[in-house]
């Protein structure tokens, strides 16, 4: 069991959770992820590390309550425990050698891009961080990113923070202003990563994207997470999750990403049904 040390809502949809997992905390690097399972009935879901503290022995995850599992996860409290927490999985993001980087986070992707920005900042790289949200109430990790970026640009779809537009517009503007990036890293919805890659391609800027396909085992044995990169399918869990943004087939990824959508409603209803009954799995508290 993996005890939950702290749970904190970052906004109405997004939760930050600190989990005690000393072995993983010692090993995990920016870009790597964990698979967790809440309890015996649970599914395995991948979540990318947001922060780790090797001395405290904790790994922090940030997630958005969108489906049955994340909704259930969001209801857990400090003192509860997760049944399974496996990692580090995937490859660390290749950040060595970058001198002038732009890290781009879309929505929840901001939390996943944060450790890379922090690593780059700590290793003497000039880091611009562009983040994008639907509206200002959903802005994530503003202070944390401020502390580890050269320049922070926050965009909102509705302009409610006074900075209306898409992350790609901000990126284009920075390129036009002469920002001479040697690395662009994008984490967020597939459609956003697609357009970031399209923005950098004409300039030949090395662009990494962190893909987020469906996963089951997360160790390379089932192919559920395959992503079309160039002419071949690669496994995001072992070959990724970062890939060359100019080679990924985003349309294929978006299509595969919704394959299980029809099941999600049923899963949510079942999860809500369990909650209404006060939880049927015995291990949960305060449901």
């Amino acid at each position: 069991m993996y005890p939950i040390e702290r749970v904190e809502p970052l906004n109405a949809e997004v939760t930050r959770m600190v989990v005690r997992a000393p072995e993983i905390a010692r090993k995990i690097r920016p870009g790597q992820f964990i698979m967790l399972r809440i309890d015996e009935r649970g599914e395995r879901i991948p979540l990318t590390m947001n922060e780790c503290d090797p001395e405290a022995g904790t790994v922090t995850i940030v997630f958005q309550a969108v489906g049955a599992t994340t909704m259930r996860l969001a209801q857990l409290k400090a003192g509860d425990a997760l049944l399974d927490f496996a990692g580090p999985l995937g490859n660390p993001t290749e950040l060595e050698g970058a001198r002038r980087a732009c890290v781009i986070g879309g929505g929840l992707g901001t939390a996943i891009a944060y450790p890379q920005a922090k690593w780059l900042h700590e290793h003497g790289c000039e880091v611009d961080v562009i983040t994008g949200f639907r509206t200002k109430d959903l802005i994530l990790l503003e202070d944390e990113i401020k502390a580890c970026s050269t320049r922070q640009i926050i965009m909102t779809d509705d302009g409610s923070n006074g900075n209306k537009g898409l992350v790609t517009q901000a990126l284009q503007q920075r390129i036009d202003e002469g920002a001479d990036y040697d690395l662009v890293l994008a984490v967020g919805p597939v459609i956003m990563m697609k357009f970031v890659a399209a923005t950098t391609k004409p300039y030949g800027i090395k662009t990494l994207v962190s893909m987020n396909p469906l996963m089951i085992d997360g160790t390379g044995m089932c192919g559920g997470c395959r992503v079309k990169v160039g002419d071949e399918y690669l496994h995001a869990c072992v070959d990724g999750p970062d890939f060359d943004g100019h080679l990924v087939d985003y349309d294929d990824a978006m299509r595969r990403g919704v394959m299980y959508r029809s099941f999600e409603g049923a899963a949510r209803e079942a999860a809500e049904g369990r909650d209404c009954n006060g939880g049927t799995d015995g291990e949960r508290k305060g449901a």
Binding site: E43, D84, A86, P88, G224, K228, F263, A266, A270
Partner: protein
């Protein structure tokens, strides 16, 4: 050799009860129900106790088959179990999933004129009986040990290598076992008998490897796998799940930082192969291990009570002719699909067990042999809608002796489907090879290991099972695990 019982001259095996094919295709309940006591005795009495005992040589873990069969024939079921268990740490599993026709039963003397003795069913019977009668089974194990201690040679010859038989000569030694499939479980079981301190590291959240995520419930109930595993736990083997070696730790760290004296690598061959044809990324297309993992490990057939979903179409094609293809086809059938197995060679060449093909046919699965998919077709929303296949003919035998199939030009045709499962084999995960300096591997990432001892090129590191030989059978993996345990014993005692 004389028998102490009257030999049953019946040419055929004593039949075993099975669930009705029409009913069972709707559930994941175990298909074969196993022998009753009367049936087991009748079948055991078909054994003529021939003096050259070819069956023992045919068993990769060397179960003293005539000895235990004789005990069943005489109704001494507890003692029969003790004898089986002395050589085989997972008899309830082997009795169910071994390809006996190419192993012990394939060389049975009775099989020369009629059917061989149903050794697998008898092995299963003894372990299921022992599960239902735990006290008598334990007493029989103790009895055998005491007879050996008292100097009884026959008891000792059976007991050799079993619990308590060898002194605790590995006490104080620590061995890390990587992976928890059949090779690893067997290796752990053998070493713990000798007093060795064992920790098994498993990447997934449940132990058992292919026994847990691969072989379906209707062939091998998962409770039974966990029961066999928990017996190892009772003996003192520790298990660390959620521990992917190569990521969480590497082998050098296990040996240097965590103080393991030796390591056994039993990581299997779990990386799926694809067909490499157009359309493999369409929705509704998966590899067999995804379907089987969702259903077996995650219990997706009980969705939404269990939270992992599994997609099942109405019309499914499974590509492949091995046991995994049969498991996938029968699983898709139970999820409600109409299933056709497409295989590029003929029936004779199918690597699947004859019994599995028979069970699949009984359950209404159709076979399109000498047929190969060339392209997977999709609809405008990106879901699979059909598979274009070509008829094949068998040409001259290739270097491996198998007749090479070749497409018949102009014979292409399309099958309309909404689900396709690829069961085209599996490869070795290169993670251990990549993260273990000094470990010699083949270009296919198979670990190079000594056949007798399992020793690799890296001192103190041993390997066995599919990680060494590529995708094979449970019992071959167990044989390798048993040999490696002996090899590790030699290594740890010669220092």
């Amino acid at each position: 050799m004389a028998t102490s019982y009257e030999v049953n001259r019946q040419k055929e095996k004593t039949p075993v009860s099975e669930l009705d094919p029409a009913d069972r295709a709707k559930t994941f309940d175990e298909v074969a129900l196993g022998y009753t006591e009367e049936e087991a005795v009748a079948e055991a009495r078909r054994c003529i106790q021939c003096p050259n005992t070819p069956c023992v040589g045919g068993c990769p873990v060397g179960v003293p088959i005539p000895r235990f069969v004789e005990q069943v024939a005489e109704g001494n079921f507890a003692r029969a179990y003790a004898i089986v268990k002395s050589a085989n740490s997972l008899p309830a599993i082997c009795g169910r999933v071994c390809p006996q026709e190419t192993q012990c039963e394939g060389v049975c003397t009775r099989g020369r004129n009629g059917e061989p003795v149903a050794i697998g069913r008898l092995e299963r019977f003894t372990s299921d009986w022992a599960f239902a009668h735990p006290e008598e089974a334990a007493a029989a194990m103790d009895g055998l040990r005491e007879e050996c201690a008292a100097g009884d040679e026959l008891a000792c010859s059976i007991w050799r290598g079993a619990e308590g038989a060898v002194s605790q000569d590995l006490a104080g030694k620590r061995v890390a076992v990587i992976g928890s499939g059949p090779a690893s479980l067997t290796c752990a079981g053998e070493l713990v008998k000798r007093g060795c301190d064992i920790t098994v590291f498993e990447a997934l959240h449940k132990v058992g490897g292919v026994l847990t995520y691969g072989i379906p419930e209707f062939r091998l109930p998962k409770d039974l796998v966990q029961r066999e595993v928990s017996k190892l736990g009772d003996k003192g083997v520790s298990f660390e799940v959620n521990a992917l070696v190569g990521k969480l730790y590497d082998i050098d760290e296990l040996m240097e930082d965590r103080g393991f004296d030796a390591v056994f690598v039993g990581t299997g061959a779990g990386l799926p192969s694809y067909l490499g044809i157009e359309g493999e990324g369409l929705n509704g297309v998966s590899v067999a291990s995804e379907l089987l993992t969702r259903v077996n490990l995650m219990k997706a057939y009980q969705f939404p009570e269990y939270e992992t979903p599994v997609y099942a179409g109405k019309k499914c094609v499974v590509v492949g002719g091995g046991n995994v293809a049969m498991d996938a086809a029968r699983t898709a059938r139970r999820l409600g699909a109409d299933v056709t197995v497409v295989y590029r060679r003929g029936r004779e060449e199918m690597p699947a067990r004859a019994e599995e093909v028979h069970h699949a046919e009984q359950e209404g699965i159709k076979f399109l042999l000498l047929t190969n998919p060339v392209r997977i077709l999709g609809d405008e929303s990106g879901w699979v809608s059909g598979v274009e296949c070509v008829r094949m003919e068998l040409g001259e035998p290739d270097a491996s002796g198998r007749r090479r199939p070749a497409p018949i030009e102009g014979s292409e045709f399309v099958i309309d489907i909404d689900m396709l499962v690829v069961a085209a084999g599996s490869k070795t995960n290169p993670l251990i090879a990549k993260t273990t300096p000094g470990l010699e591997v083949t270009p296919r990432s198979l670990i190079v290991a000594d056949e007798r001892t399992g020793a690799t090129s890296k001192p103190g590191v041993f390997a066995g099972g599919d990680a060494v030989i590529g995708a094979a059978t449970v019992i071959l993996a167990m044989g390798a695990g048993k040999r490696a345990a002996a090899g590790i014993g030699e290594y740890l005692t010669q220092e």
